[in-house]
Every structure is written in C-alpha cells, then in structure tokens.
Amino acid sequence: MTVTDLSPAGAPTGTGKPVLEIRDLHVAYGYGPEPVRALRGVNLTLHEGEVLGIAGESGCGKSTLVYAATRLLPPPGLITGGEVLFHGGTGATGDEPVDILRMSDKELRRSRWQDTAIVFQGAMNSLNPVYRVGKQLTDAIAAHRPGMSRFDRNERAGELLSMVGIAKDRISAYPHQLSGGMRQRVMIAMALALEPKVLIMDEPTTALDVVMQRQIVEQIIELRDRLGFSVVFITHDVSLLIEVADRIAIMYAGEIVEQASASDVYRRPRHPYTHGLLNSFPPLHGPKRPLVGIPGSPPDLQALPSGCPFRPRCAHVMDACAEVHPALGPTSLGLPGVGEPGRSVACLLHEGQGELPAELRV
C-alpha cells in the first residue's frame, strides 16, 4: 500500500500553535463505588491545521477520549481528572486557553460547534428523523448567530451542502430519503456550518464502502486545505490514517502507547503493538509476507494486568513489564536522552531494559 500523500506536501508534523491540549485526562464509567477506568491519564495535543489520527482496537478508548474532551460522553461516563485546554475559542480573552472541563453550561453551549465540531460515528442515527435536513443545518446556525436572517441561514445551508457535494435542493429532504453516504456528508456539512477550529471525526468511514470512503476522505482533506481547520480522525483502520493523517497516536487499553508522524508510524514503528497492528493488514506492494495478527484478546478494562497492559500479548515481554508501568517518553534511538524528534513511545524496551528487537529499530 502506498502512502499517497494527501496532506499538503512537506507539512512538517508538530509545527504550528497548539489549538487543543488534553492533559492528564482520566475518565471512568459507572457512578458506583467501582467504576471502570477507561482512560488513565491521557495527554494529547492538536496543532493548528494538522490532521491527527487516533487508532486502536475497539474498546481502547479512542472515542471515549474525544467525547470526554468535549464533555459529550453519555452517562454513566464520568470525568475524574485532567484538563482540556482550548486555545482561541469563543470564550477566551486574549491568548489564555480555556479549560473545557471547567466551563459553565452556558459557556460550553456557546463554544460548542463554533470551536469544536464532531462528526459522530454512524450517521444512520445521528440525524433527527422528523426534521428536514435543512432545518438541522440551520438550527445550529441560528443558535449561535441570532442576527442572521432566515434567508441567509438557508443560503448558508445550501452552500454547505454543495460544499460536500450534495445538490442544494436536498435541503428539504428528510434523513430517511438520503443514502448512507449522503447522510454522512450531511453530517460533515453540519459540522462545518460555523467554521470550527477543530473538527473531530469519529469513525466517519467505518460504515461505508471503500469507494465512498475514498470520496469522503478526499473531501475532508480538500476542505481542510481550503478552510484551515484541524482534524482529529478516529478509526480502527490504521491503513486509512496513514494516508490521511499528519500525526498518528496509537491507543491501547485507555492510554496512548505511541505517537509519531504518519510515515514514521508506518515505516518505523517503535512499539510492539504498533508493529503488530501494521502486520495485521497485507501490503499491496513488496514481497509477500505471512499475515501475523496480534495473539491474545483485547484487554478487559476492569481487570488489567499489572504493569504494562500490553504485556500478555507482547512478543518481547520481559520480567520488568509486570512490575513497572511504562510512561510515554522518548524512544531509545536518536540522540541519547532526547530520542527521535517528534515521537514518543511507552515501552520499557526504550527505557534501557532489554534489547530493542530489530523490527522496532528500523
């Protein structure tokens, strides 16, 4: 599979000002005495104009991460710690970032959709079945731009639809009259209604066929180039991310285990899990190699093993892995003490324990 460069040529990763910073986020499920700890201290930063991909197995916490960061996690979700800083949002004065988790309801409502917009997973159910598409586009606009006239709002809705490649007359259609792909595109149009700084897409292509997938991904990139927003792209399909994203964060069991630029992740993985993921789908080019998955089964968040959560499935497990929980830090290659620039990994192999295997030192 080739890495077709959909991102603008030479976009350096990690440059640009940060626009969304998630710091030390802890999320649990359940209000009782023994909640399941879904996210345990996640740190993530999104920069202006960048496409950040988050990949991982089902249940690893990728959706939880973004929903918690926007406080849209449904009950019994509970945020137990951390902060989510947004730079340059609607409520911000000057350069001070604002913590989304500390906002009042009113402030949060005001900032929503203008600062951060989400395209939800499964557009099947994300549109209100009793309202016309146009109304669903315009009510978001009306809520935040009370001054706009109805005519202008409808104009804007029409614009948005054509921006995503849907005929303007579909504005009076009901959701059940549209196909799956069109519904997904309506969701994207809806998300861009107020030209947000951050667009979060939760598995936008999972329910679609490959051709539609391609179209939508291209559309997103094209819109990003035109309008300049940042994108957080969540998917379990790493191969897709490699094409689309500037940076990729790999999650496992509620934490980030590797972060690097897209091509680094694809060509030079540093974490055993990443390596396993990449080997789980066949390349279209190059010599045939055996398809090796990752042995074992996804972790049970209620009964995580001690130390490193990936330990039971890791091919390079050591004794220390049971005792120490690796934190995200520099890789052991590159400059000593600094690691390779722009990437981090959470593995004891990079902390001087044991011998870094060949496939991880490419």
Partner: protein, 326 residues
C-alpha cells in the same frame, strides 16, 4: 399511500364488523320486551317505526336472515335506529343526539388534557432523571390503579358532600334552559369540573409513564447527543429533538387505548349522573331498552373509530417516514 390504503381498509372492515356484531346481538338476546312493548303501544307506533323495530330485532320471522341484514343496513343509512322503549316516543337517534355531545365534550376534553399533560410531565421526568419530579410517579400510579368510579365517589364525597364546592350530579343545573347564556355555560363548567378532574387524575399516570419511558429511550439516541453537541438550548433539544420523537409511539398508543378510555368514562357518567351516552346506556340496560342499547353501542363504536382515524392522521402529520413508501 400504501399506508393510507391499509388504514382505510382497516377502518372500513372494523366499521363493518361493529355494525354486524350490533346486528347479531339482539338476536342472541331475549326478544320479549320488544314484542311486548310493541303490543302494548299498538296504536301509538307508526307502521314504519314498527317495521324498523322488526328489522332490528328479527321479530318478523317471515324474512330470512340475509334479508333482515340488508334491511338493517338500509335502516342505518337512513339514520333510523328505532324507537326508544324507555323514552318513548323519542327515537333512538334523538336520544343519542342529545346525549352524545355531553359525552364527547367531557370525555374528549378530559382525555386530551390528560394526554397532553401526561406527555409533558413525562418528558420532563424522563429528561432529567433522578430529579424531584420522579416523585410524581408513585403518586400518579396510585391514582391510575384506582378504578375511575371509586375515585369519582371519593371526589364527590370530599368536594360535594363534605365541602360543597362542586355539585355532585348532572351536567348542568336542572331547570336551566340550555342555550348560549353565560349562566348556562357557567353551570356546565361547574358541573363538568369534578368529573373531568377525576378522569384526568385517573388516566394521566399512564401517559406520564409511557412518555417517560420513551423519552429515556430516545435520549440515548445519537441525534440527541448531536443536538447537544451543536450547542442548542436545553429547551430546544428536550422538546424539538427528544419529545418530538418520543411522542410518536404515544400517539399510536393513544389511538389504541381510546376504546378503554371510553369504557372507563361510561361508568364515570353513572357516578356523576352526567347525562351523556354512558349514563343513558346504563339506564337503558336497566330498563331493557334494547333498541336504545343497540343504538348507543353502535354510536360509541363508531365514535371510537372516528377518533382513531383522527389520531392516525395526527401520526402521519408528525412522522414524515410514513408519508412515503420505503
């Protein structure tokens, strides 16, 4: 379109079934009171009236069953439902025409109020779970487990006998001339309040519960979260997105439960001596006034059917998915 056709076919069939059942009922019953009535009032019954009674009750053994059936339909289409034994010489149609508006007024208004109030409360309770409003549920459930008539009795005891706030019987003050005068209307309202409140109190719990459950189910749908994510106001999300979808099954439930609602309010009329069709029906039963019984039963069934049609129409208006095939 297909949806409409099915519904229309259903209504036609049900109407036919109701009328046919109505046709057969008296034939299963003791025909004697009618014959003796006819004989007793030989001179005062016109021959057409006597004919209709024969047709209604199959007393004319000369005609075959099928002929009687056809004649019966002809009678109905001409609006002739026979003579009332109890209220002779009024015809059944006259009696019903007088009583029906009272029932529709009382039952209709009370039921609609109950539905709307119950649905509104249901949304509020279902939206914010664990709030104080949850406490409403056990209270209203208690009231709905109580039979209508008992609640009526207690209401009368409290508000008519003990504290004479409301009158205990009748649709309006006896002696007043029905008309559009303030006095009359005021009297109507005064007499109608207690029964109406009793009906509402008794039935609101069902609606609250249904709406609450539907609201809870709907709130976990994605589009509600999307609405919140768009930063819309709480009210708009709660009513425009959640309630608007949750009410759909309620409306179809409403249509279906009309039969039961009517049943309950019939007895209410007896308790309050409210001169609607229910009260009249019960009196007719006591007096063995078969023509009147038959006529009222038919009228009630057809009214319920009409109300069903209206509710169905409302459903179609509310849910765009029904307006087109596939």
């Amino acid at each position: 379109m297909k949806y409409f056709l099915r519904r229309i076919v259903f209504y036609v069939i049900t109407a036919w079934a109701a009328i046919t059942i109505n046709f057969f009922i008296p034939r299963m019953m003791d025909g004697d009171p009618v014959s003796s009535f006819i004989n007793k009032n030989q001179g005062r019954i016109s021959s057409e009236a006597r004919e209709s009674l024969y047709v209604l009750f199959g007393l004319d053994s000369g005609a075959s069953l099928w002929e009687q059936y056809v004649d019966y339909w002809k009678m109905l289409f001409s609006g002739d439902l026979g003579l009332s034994i109890m209220l002779f010489p009024s015809t059944v149609s006259e009696v019903i025409a007088q009583a029906l508006p009272w029932t529709i007024g009382l039952v209709g208004i009370a039921t609609v109020i109950s539905f709307l109030l119950g649905s509104f409360l249901g949304v509020v309770i279902g939206w914010r779970r664990g709030s104080w409003a949850d406490g409403l549920l056990p209270i209203t459930t208690f009231f709905s487990s109580v039979p209508y008539f008992w609640l009526g009795l207690v209401a009368i005891m409290l508000f008519s006998v003990t504290w004479s706030i409301f009158p205990s019987s009748g649709a309006y003050q006896p002696g007043l001339v029905p008309g559009w005068s303030w006095e009359f209307i005021g009297s109507v309202i005064q007499h109608g309040t207690l029964p109406a409140i009793t009906i509402v109190l008794s039935s609101v719990a069902g609606w609250i519960l249904g709406m609450r459950n539907m609201t809870v189910t709907v709130t976990s749908e994605d589009y509600v979260t999307v609405a919140q994510a768009k930063g819309l106001s709480e009210r708009r999300v709660m009513f425009g997105y959640a309630a608007r979808n949750a009410i759909l099954p309620q409306v179809s439930g409403f249509a279906l439960s009309l039969g039961f609602i009517v049943s309950g309010t019939l007895v209410m009329e007896k308790v309050f001596s409210y001169q609607g069709v229910g009260f009249t029906l019960l009196q007719a039963i006591g007096a063995h006034d078969y023509p009147l019984m038959q006529g009222i039963f038919l009228m009630i069934t057809l009214s319920v059917l009409v109300a069903n049609i209206l509710a169905d129409l409302a459903y179609v208006v509310l849910d765009p998915r029904t307006r087109q095939e596939g």
